[in-house]
Amino acid sequence: MTQTLKIGFLPLVDACLPILAQEHGFAEDEGLSLSFVRDMSWATVLDRLLFGHSDAAHLLAPLAIATTLGIGRPATPLVAPFVLGLNGNAITLSADLASRVLQGGTQGGGQGGLGDPRDVGERLKAEALTAKAAGKPLRFGVVHRHSSHNYMLRYWLAECGVSPDTDVEIATVAPPFTADALMAGEIDGSCVGEPWNSIAVDRGAGQIALATAQIWRRGVEKVLALREDRLDDQRPQIEALIRAMRKAGAHFIDPANWEVNARILARPEYCDAPHDIVLRAISDRLVLHQGGKPHSFPDFMFQHREAANFPWVSQAEWLYSQMVRWEAMDYHSQQAGSAARVFRPDVYRSALIGTGDELPGASSKVEGSLSTPLATTAQEGSITLNKNSFFDGSSFDPDQLEHYIQSQK
């Protein structure tokens, strides 16, 4: 008998896996029928999840953690048994700011590529300090305060010597309004997912300066989130969904399928965006400035290989470290434990054991430690993890969580 699951999502390209699982019949193969509820704010995606309008949702990983910890609203335990993808976001600067910090890089047809995080950061620092001294600090938009977009942008700024709290302003801007806000000068830059960077580029509102993958090569992004009690009630269906999404991921990364998948995701009921813009994101070929040529940046989105969907506990712990760092919180070991337990590798494993899919042997790893490929221990299959570094060369050892937090103060 077919079981139905309702999935909440925001119209972003990285909602692709559950959508394609349904569209290509991978869900049906697992005895599932998926329906979707599309919303325009994360608050509403979350409300629907908490009050039973949806069974599971495409959600910002830090928002799943914040909800579990009871930050900003009463605590409700959520779980994330599947990472929907790594990275896929970009930092876009207003045309005006881009013309001043990207010279020699992408501006004026130079190398035609993305900027170098250090170089761009250095020039941005000068601009930020000048603007601050003039009493009109640079403003950046992010999609939500509990988002990897916020944390990645802050990580980069801080490492480049720009204090995200005192040298610039960072505020939430709804993704659909990013291009408008850049155009109107309400913000000077933004960190947002696709298709919104490309839409800003095509409207001439801004220029893509960096991909978040340049800040952390294997940065955790959206997760499939659901209520913990819902997982207990619907465990077989959720495990079936995980298997269906793994198959959708294999389909998604095959270049032969890019065109058809772009057309599906572009539809009004999903991303409601031009299909050629969706195609740029899923083929890792971004157009960086209006009228420019597509620029290939491998692993801009990273949805499948290297067990990319495995919910590493260390990823949840890194997000918690940044939550403490930027949201005026104190470190508590009990709270850190609750944050870590949001990610559920045990569920991922039990869903895929025996399928022949790649399954890591460990549940946690030192994040950002690989500068060269490394074959890793696997419970099933063989996994070679590629470069996963942070741009500043540092790494995050989850066994040293408290020390890591202290070192960033």
């Binding site: 704010s41 509403t44 409300d47 009050f51 039973g52 609203r73 305060r145 801007v173 709804a174």
Partner: protein, 193 residues
């Protein structure tokens, strides 16, 4: 009590405003544009904010309530203040409420109930309107399909309709579905007229 209604649907906002206006001691402000949203809210300094669930600015507003020091009086999400049933009812209706910290539940309840009733009434109106528009579109499509059959096969209007109906009955589909197929096929195969 100062109430802010943030809704991009001006029609719905005015229906809610009218409902709340009938209550005593309510000063109502409606905000239908996203431009300058936070500045307007700061100026209104509301005791309660109602916002439709479909509003893309919800995350912006929630962040403002959570971290802004610009507000004299902290605003909490309604979920902090009330029981799950009321929240579930408001989510079902498609509206969310934010209230000033410490506002008594018995002062909020009549406002929330009125707003929910108005929201639900508006949804019904919209559903009725969509149904009426759907019927008009169906009549239009059937008319086009009849015209195609009349022109293409030299049928009279009653004969064309009978043909559509017979096909619908034999294939267990609605007449409008058959009519849509005829119109689509004609667009693809015909001269595009």
């Amino acid at each position: 009590m100062r109430i802010a209604i943030i809704d991009e649907s001006a029609a719905r906002a005015s229906i809610i405003e009218e409902g709340l206006g009938a209550l005593d001691d309510c000063e109502i402000h409606t905000v239908t544009s996203r431009d300058g949203l936070l500045a307007r809210i700061a100026k209104i300094s509301p005791d309660i904010v109602f916002m439709d669930l479909g509003n893309p600015s919800r995350d912006v507003l929630e962040e403002y309530f959570a971290v802004s020091r610009a507000l004299d009086r902290p605003i909490a999400m309604f979920v902090d203040e009330s029981d799950d049933d009321s929240i579930a009812a408001s989510i079902d209706a498609g509206v969310t409420a934010y209230v000033v910290d410490g506002l008594a539940a018995n002062r909020i309840r009549p406002l929330l109930e009125t707003t929910l009733r108005r929201f639900n009434a508006f949804s019904r109106l919209q559903a009725d309107l969509a149904e009426a528009q759907g019927k008009l579109a169906a009549i239009d499509t059937i008319g086009k399909a009849k015209r195609i059959l009349m022109d293409g096969k030299g049928l009279t209007e009653p004969q064309a309709y009978a043909e559509l109906r017979a096909k619908a009955m034999s294939s267990n589909r609605r007449i409008v579905t058959i009519a849509e197929a005829v119109v689509t096929a004609h667009e693809l195969l015909g001269d595009g007229a």
